[in-house]
Symmetry: C2
Subunit: 318 residues, 2 copies
Amino acid sequence: VQPEVTPELIRGAAERIHAMVRRTPLMTSRGFDEAAGVRTLFKCENLQRGGAFKIRGASNFLLSLEPEELGRGVVAYSSGNHAQAVAMAARIVGSTATLVMPRDAPRSKVEATRAQGATILTYDRLRESREALGARIAAETGATLVPPYDHPWTIAGQGTCALEFLEEAPELDALIAPVGGGGLLSGCAIAARSLKPEMRIFGAEPELANDTYLSLAAGHRVEIPVPATIADGLRATSPGQITFPILSRTVEAVLLVSEEEIRTAVRFLLARLKILVEPSGAAAAAAVLHGKLPKNVRAAGVVLSGGNVDLDTLARFL
Amino acid sequence: VQPEVTPELIRGAAERIHAMVRRTPLMTSRGFDEAAGVRTLFKCENLQRGGAFKIRGASNFLLSLEPEELGRGVVAYSSGNHAQAVAMAARIVGSTATLVMPRDAPRSKVEATRAQGATILTYDRLRESREALGARIAAETGATLVPPYDHPWTIAGQGTCALEFLEEAPELDALIAPVGGGGLLSGCAIAARSLKPEMRIFGAEPELANDTYLSLAAGHRVEIPVPATIADGLRATSPGQITFPILSRTVEAVLLVSEEEIRTAVRFLLARLKILVEPSGAAAAAAVLHGKLPKNVRAAGVVLSGGNVDLDTLARFL
C-alpha cells in the first residue's frame, strides 16, 4: 500500500535527502520584474546536482528502499533528467542503475547519465514502449522501477523544493512550476500549502504539450499524442494517476506558453540572470514573463526546474 | 592624500557596501574538479548585481565621497562592466553618472549602462584618449572621476569579494582571479592574506594581454599595445600605479591562457555549471581547467568575475 502524499511525508523526505541534494539559491532580477510586471523570485533547480530538480525525487525514492532492494539495483525510463538523477542517486547510495532512454534523447543528458556509471539501454520512441522495456528489466533482474513522477516517494522528494523556497521567501503569494507528469507541481503544491494555506498554485505547460491543461478542464485525465515541443522534459502525454487528483484540488490554472515564448525566456534568463535554463525548465518563467499570471499576484515564486541543454541546441536559440 | 589599502580599509568597505551588493554564491562541480585535477570552488561574481564584481569598487568609491561631491555627479571611462557598476551605484545613491565608453563596446554593456539612467559618451578607441575625455568632463562639470582600478577605495571595494570567499571556504589554499588593471586581484590578495597569511595568490591573464605577467617579470610596470583578446575586460595595457606594488609582493605567478582555453572554459561553465561567464570572467577558471596551477594546490578558489556577454557573441563560441 502506497502512503498518501502529506506534508509530513515531504518533511521526512527533506530530512532524508538532505546530504544528497543542494539547497539551491534563490535569484531575483529587476529587469525581469519590470518586463513581467510582477515581483518574481526564482528557485534555481537548474543549479541543482545533476542540473535538475529530479535528484530530489530519485534520492528520496532510493533512500526509502530496503537495503536488499538496493542490492538488486534500480531501473528507470526517462528522456534525460530523471535518468541522470537515478544514476547519480544509485552511485551515491551504492546501488546499480539501468536506464532506458529514447534514442533521440539530448546527447548531454545521455552522456551525463553514463558518466554516473549507469547502464544505458536506448529504445525507439515511435516503435517501442519504454514502460514495457522497464518492466521487463525489472522482472528479469529483480531491480526496482523508480517512477519519474507517479509515486508518493518521488512526489514527496520533488516537494522539498517548495519547502526550501517558502522558508527563504515567505512573502510569496503564488508558486508556478512546469508540468510534465506533475510530480514537481503536485509535491510543491502540498508543501507550499502546508506552510501557507492561501498560496496560489499555477502550472505552466507548452501549448504543444497541454495534457494537464486539458485534463483539468475535462475533470479527468486526458491522453494526448506525443508532443513535439522543444521542452523535452514536458513531453508526458497525460498527468499521473497520483499527481492528477492532487493537481485537481490545488491548481488555480495551467498557463500555456508557445515555443517562441519558451525560447525568449531561455534567452532572457541567460542574458540577464546569467544562468542556463533548459526549455522545459523555463516554461514557468516564460508564462510569468509573458504576463499570464493574474494581475493581483504580488510576489511570484517561479521554479526553474532544470538546465540540461546541449550547447549546439542552445546556439540555435541565440 | 590617499589611504593605504589595508585589511581594515577592506573591512570598512564591506560594511559600507553591504546593502548595495549581493553576497554571491559559491559553486562547485565534480566534473570541473576531475577535468582540472584539483578541488575548485567558484565565487560567482557573474551573478553579482550588474553581472560583475565591479559594483563592489564603484559602490565603495561613491559611498566614500562627500554629499556635495555626489551632488556634482561622477564620471568614469570603461569598456563596460565598470561603466555599468558606476551607473548603478550612482542611481542607488542618488547621484548622476556620465560614462565614457568605446564605440565598439559590447552592445549589452552599453544598453545595461543606459538602462541605469546614465549619460553615455562614446569615443573612438584608436583615435581618442578616454582619459583625456574623462578628465575634461570632470573639469567642466565638477564631477568626480571614479577610477576603474587604480584607487584605494576601488581596490578596497573589490577586495570584499575575497573576504566573503574565505569566510565561506576557509579551506582554500590558493586564490586565482583574472587581472586587467589589477584592482580585483590586489584587493583580494590583501583581504585573503589578512584572513590566512599563507594563502597563495595567482593572477590569470590572456596570453594576448600579458602586461602584468611582463611587469612582474621585469620588476617594473611594462606597457603593451592595446591587446586584441576576446576578454574585453582584461585589455588594460599596464598594471596600475597602486595595484602593481601590491601584486609584486603578493602574487606567486600570473598564469597565461590562450584565447581557445578561455573559450573552452566559457563553454564548460555553461554546459556543466549552468552559468554564463564572460571571457574576461572565465580567465582564472581557464587557467585552472588547463592545469596551470602548481600541482600541490589542494583547494583552489577561482573568482568568476563577470557574466556580461552578448548572446550573439556567445553563439559564435558554442
